[in-house]
Amino acid sequence: MDVLVDADRLRKTFGHIIAVDEISLKVARGEVLGFLGPNGAGKSTTMKMLTGFLEPDGGVARICGVPVTERPKEAKSKIGYLPEGAPAYGDMTAGSFLSFIAEIRGFDGSVKSDRIAEAVTRTGLERVVDQPIETLSKGFKRRVGLAQAILHDPPVLIMDEPTDGLDPNQKHHVRSLISEMAKEKAIIVSTHILEEVEAVCTRAVVIDRGRIVADGTAEDLQRQMPYHNAVALMVDRERAEAVTNALSALANVQSVERLAKENGHIQLRALPKNGAAIASDVAAVLAERSLPVAELYVERGRLDDVFRKITTGEGDRHA
């Protein structure tokens, strides 16, 4: 495995507050790591240490094997970074801003214009290249920040809330851009939008109060939920009893819960034993006894609940 980002027991305190408490993580080429956590959990601080903006109080961050604190210039040249809020020099036009970034990144002449042109095309900035950044909409500003981060085709891409405040189309665009680049880079994306993790990330790390509290795929996180793979059904009130009995008899079903009543219907939820997949069994038994249902779906265990459960100890109940 080609580890491009390696954080080893990173630690950062501000006065008495421990912002990041010995966070260690590795990100390999081809991975898109979703960095999750409530506001103030230490996501941004960790990213700032990885990118060399903040010096850690303890631990080492290495980018492509280069220690960030000892050889900052070399490490920084391997990173594309989109800071939170995508700051940029507002009085510059998008084009001149990217030209400045390209020069600082060491490009000259035709290589420079090629790089800028490519970043502009990839982020869809063609229309606004000659406009001052301060006059651009939030979505375009964010894209300027993205263009700036990917301009030198860095092996490591670190983005702090890249889709925050964007409309659904813009979010989709940013996500497909990330997925496009995912293969040959190590990417870290911080977010508190959980759907994003499902959409683009190969792995999710949840941090809370400066510590890593969960690390795995989105699927792994969902599996932690008690309702993972549970089957929810909507049935007529008269048939509720019969359905409950039929489902309870199944080998893989732990229990059947009765939830809300709606318009003469009753919502039931069949909980599986050990998270087993029971949907087909449920469907089969219902068909066999010819019990019609108005609605049937498999609950994944919503990431929001997992998130709440992990970071606050709540979220076991929902419905």
């Binding site: 501000f14 700032k48 990118t51 060399g52 903006f53 903040l54 900052p72 210039k73 070399e74 920084k76 040249s77 990173i79 970074y81 800071p83 939170e84 809020g85 700051p87 940029a88 020099y89 507002g90 009085d91 510059m92 001149s96 400045f100 970034i101 020069e103 600082i104 990144r105 060491g106 700036q148």
Partner: protein, 244 residues
């Protein structure tokens, strides 16, 4: 060096792009002229020199240079671009020197635009152009010293107004440090050598010598060392406080 130039170029473009450059240059040229003619009695003195013109430079710089310097770092911190800049492959030193040189060059540009004063005095009489040249150099160096102080203070805060007021106050103390206003504060308790040291820090005394033709290396060196000292302090402050 390449990075210093790239950063300076960007800053200069910002000065001219936002109109700040033109406002500053026009006001600077107008005020230096107004002071020389109306307060300094340029004509009435009947002397073919530019002392009437140069002697007000410290006071004009006191107002105008902190106004240029206040945005250098405070604005970067306010808008968050400092995070962008300091995660690019540039060192803190390169960023500080690049920004400083751009602002300095731009003040130098405004200073050059006062050349009609030089034409006038050469038209009217036969001045010592050597003294005028060193006065220009001295004035430029003094502006650099004001600017380095302002840049350093600007890194301490996100608020440009605070940066302006604090920088102007510190510059004022440096200007006045040869006068009783400042020296009396030290005379009561400090040893003589301290009082003399403070007195020798005076921008005014050093500049007066230069414009009267007493060009000593120590006066030029004085301004250069002030610049070096405050830019060094600037680097430490940026390193320490960039996250705050």
């Amino acid at each position: 060096m390449r990075n210093v130039w790239i950063i300076a170029k960007r800053e200069l473009a910002a000065y001219f792009g936002t109109g700040l450059a033109y406002v500053f240059a026009v006001i600077f040229v107008a005020l230096t002229g107004a002071f020389a003619f109306f307060v300094g009695n340029f004509f009435e003195r009947g002397q073919a020199d530019l002392i009437a013109f140069f002697q007000y430079h410290p006071w004009l710089y006191l107002l105008l240079v902190p106004a240029v310097a206040m945005r250098l770092w405070a604005e970067e911190r306010k808008t968050g671009t400092i995070e962008l800049l300091m995660t690019l492959p540039v060192t803190t030193g390169e960023a500080i020197v690049g920004k400083f040189l751009a602002a300095w060059a731009f003040i130098g540009f405004a200073l050059l635009l006062t050349f009609p004063m030089w034409l006038t005095v050469n038209f009217l009489g036969d001045p010592d152009n050597g003294v005028i040249l060193t006065s220009y150099i001295g004035s430029f160096l003094m502006a650099g010293a004001f600017l380095a102080i302002g840049s350093c203070i600007s890194a301490l805060t996100k608020n440009q107004v605070i940066a302006f007021i604090v920088a102007a106050t510190i510059c004022f103390l440096f200007v006045m440090s040869g006068s009783d206003l400042v020296l009396n504060f030290f005379r009561g308790w400090a040893p003589r050598i301290v009082v003399e040291a403070v007195s020798s820090l005076s921008f005014l005394t050093n500049f007066d010598q230069i414009i009267r033709g007493v060009i000593s290396l120590s006066s030029l060196f004085f301004y250069l060392s002030i610049i070096a000292f405050f830019l060094f302090a600037n680097a430490i402050i940026v390193e320490q406080r960039k996250a705050a």
